[in-house]
Symmetry: C2
Subunit: 385 residues, 2 copies
């Protein structure tokens, strides 16, 4: 009996009993029990000295995760998409030229948000799964001379990882700032914010950091902070105005909005879990599981969508074999062992599975568990190797 | 030893141990243990049928809390201020005349957000703590002929409750929509969305609903939904675009953003707690505790800032007695019994205490506990009756 039927039958709302899920999708991922414990701790007020300290701890721990000494870190009270909008709304003004490396769904979203802010968006189009070479990136930026450039570090819709160094160097040479989408990378693989040269990075909590969704951690370079201070026109979004949020969270602690206390508790704990493991050990664990995953996938006669050099280690795009209905495979996995994976969309609809191996699921045993169940589901859907 | 000192001394981050607080401020308020349990339930994916059902339950339960049969309900993945911004960004366009009943801090925020969206804001100024008579409201709207009118139902900064009926009737007569700020009212006192005639209402989770902060429940009248559909210019905020959010949460369930799963679990449970008590019983419980509170306050020789007819039953503004340092009283309460209350700000800075008696704290025993401790703190700060 489905949840809906239960409710209709009883004429009331059943007790909350989420089904057991193994979250092998692109996110949200599984959450550590320490994080669930933190979520259910009693709240204090949003201006309480204890909460100010929690925000401060989160900012400090985010420096390590992002890899920044000089940058400011802060947290948006919304999901990763709110972080994207904060980046666009604060660092673009109407008429400004914004170049976007457009090779997937999230660069399309970046484009859409920037156009709504009135920016003049120039896109460098590539196929979904492709990346930009250093030369291509440099040439594009030198030719277009933008005020701001945007790229997606780990493109969740394609599984491709875009190196940011050449983009950032060329942008700075042109006097431009760089917005880097780190939604799928932060916590699971190296962002190296300072070393890469990103100016404005945003992420989420429910992927590499293995926390429930709800907040967007950001990092801002000194250059970005100077640009914020120099801005004379008001940011159209008051809720996402980074000057006001930075003042509340870091400077005066004066009331801006009522921060989601419980989610901050959870994020602090998730960052401590990362810290206890050590960020480099965590990256290495994900890389090891990724290699094991790819080995298993190839042994099944399947192939990866993205060439080896450009793969995101935490989010794999596996090509759907000819003649196989990918939705059927996903349904078999969900209804049977309770495994969630995702399909492709846009130009990759029906063509790839998107399989995350991250956070608590990135262990040797879990990879083997997944491969076995995935093989069974493929077979049941008619695949033979 | 303060939290900061502990951290410095240990050279690391201490375990999360929030101090015990009795949240008698304007919000966040205390949270029911059922809600904390729900918060820590394992998450599922944001497109999982189970989560879609959770969103559906929340929407249905919100109808009762808001008092709407015809309206649509949905939830913004941000705090109450994100709800305010969603209202302003979706229902105002550059150059549109927006009239604001300006009698407190949150109508100032509404003004600021609307100006950032390019609206032509006309304010009807009143003192902090005053309200508008039906005649004043009607006359103002008839004279100004706005496209949209905005008022704050329960003004958290002043303790004054503004009746919405005359405002809504006059606005509809003029062909205007009405935005009603229900941040402090929803769940604690009657909003009666349909009966009052509000078109766009937003609220928060951490006041009358006694859930942690993080989401903003909204209600939209049929008139508001029609206006949304008729809008031809894109909403500047993609994250808060209500057409997209309504489509994800209610219509197609196609991906828009990754909703904060755990917070939705918590909100569903908080609404079930409200439902189990019965919304009218809940209002009556708050009214009873309010009367008891005022009786106790007056017996101590203190007076209320707002005249009896216009008081918010869940949020009391008590005048600071002459010569008493209100910050000192608050500090004594926080450091001693762990009671949080708030001071005034803006024109009421230093002049009022803001004391919430809502949710789990709205019981006879808790009111007596508060009055006793408040009396002791006042005495220790030099007050004698």
């Amino acid at each position: 009996m489905s949840v809906v039927e239960q409710e209709t039958a009883a004429g009331q709302f059943p007790a909350l009993k989420p089904p057991t899920r193994y979250l092998f999708g692109p996110g949200p991922t599984m959450v550590h029990s320490r994080v669930y414990d933190a979520l259910s701790k009693p709240i204090v007020g949003h201006l309480d000295a204890y909460f100010i300290q929690v925000m401060g701890d989160v900012q400090q721990l985010l420096r390590t995760a992002y890899g920044t000494d000089d940058g400011a870190t802060l947290v948006i009270s919304g999901t990763g998409s709110a972080g994207m909008e904060a980046a666009v709304a604060n660092f673009l003004e109407p008429g400004w030229k914004f170049v976007v490396f457009a090779n997937g769904y999230f660069s399309d979203r970046l484009t859409e948000m920037a156009r709504r802010q009135g920016a003049d968006v120039v896109r460098f189009e590539k196929g979904w799964g492709e990346v930009y070479s250093d030369d291509e990136a440099r040439e594009f930026i030198r030719r277009e001379k933008p005020k701001v450039a945007g790229f997606v570090h780990a493109e969740t819709s394609t599984g491709a990882l875009q190196s940011g160094k050449a983009i950032c160097a060329a942008a700075h040479e042109a006097g431009a700032l760089v917005i880097g989408d780190c939604v799928t990378s932060l916590g699971g693989l190296p962002v190296k914010f300072d070393e890469t040269g990103i100016d404005v990075a945003y992420s989420c909590t429910q992927k590499g950091l293995s926390c429930p969704p709800g907040l967007s951690p950001m990092a801002l370079s000194k250059r970005a902070m100077d640009a914020l201070k120099a801005r004379t026109t008001p940011v159209r979004s008051w809720y996402l105005d980074l000057k006001l949020i930075h003042d509340y969270s870091t400077v005066s602690h004066r009331y801006h909005h009522t921060a989601p206390i419980s989610m901050f508790y959870a994020l602090r704990e998730a960052l401590l879990v990362v810290n206890d493991e050590g960020i480099e050990n965590r990256w290495e664990r994900h890389r090891r599981c990724h290699r094991q995953f790819v080995k298993g996938i190839e042994a099944m006669g399947l192939s990866m969508h993205v060439p080896e050099a450009n793969r995101i280690p935490t989010l794999n795009t596996v090509r759907v074999p000819n003649g196989i209905d990918e939705a059927k495979v996903r349904k078999l996995l969900l209804d049977g062992p309770g495994i969630e994976i995702a399909g492709g969309f846009g130009p990759l609809a029906g063509k790839v599975f998107r399989i995350g191996v991250m956070g608590p699921l990135a262990t040797d045993d879990n990879v083997q568990f997944f491969l076995k169940e995935f093989g069974k589901a493929l077979k049941a859907a008619g695949y033979s190797n």
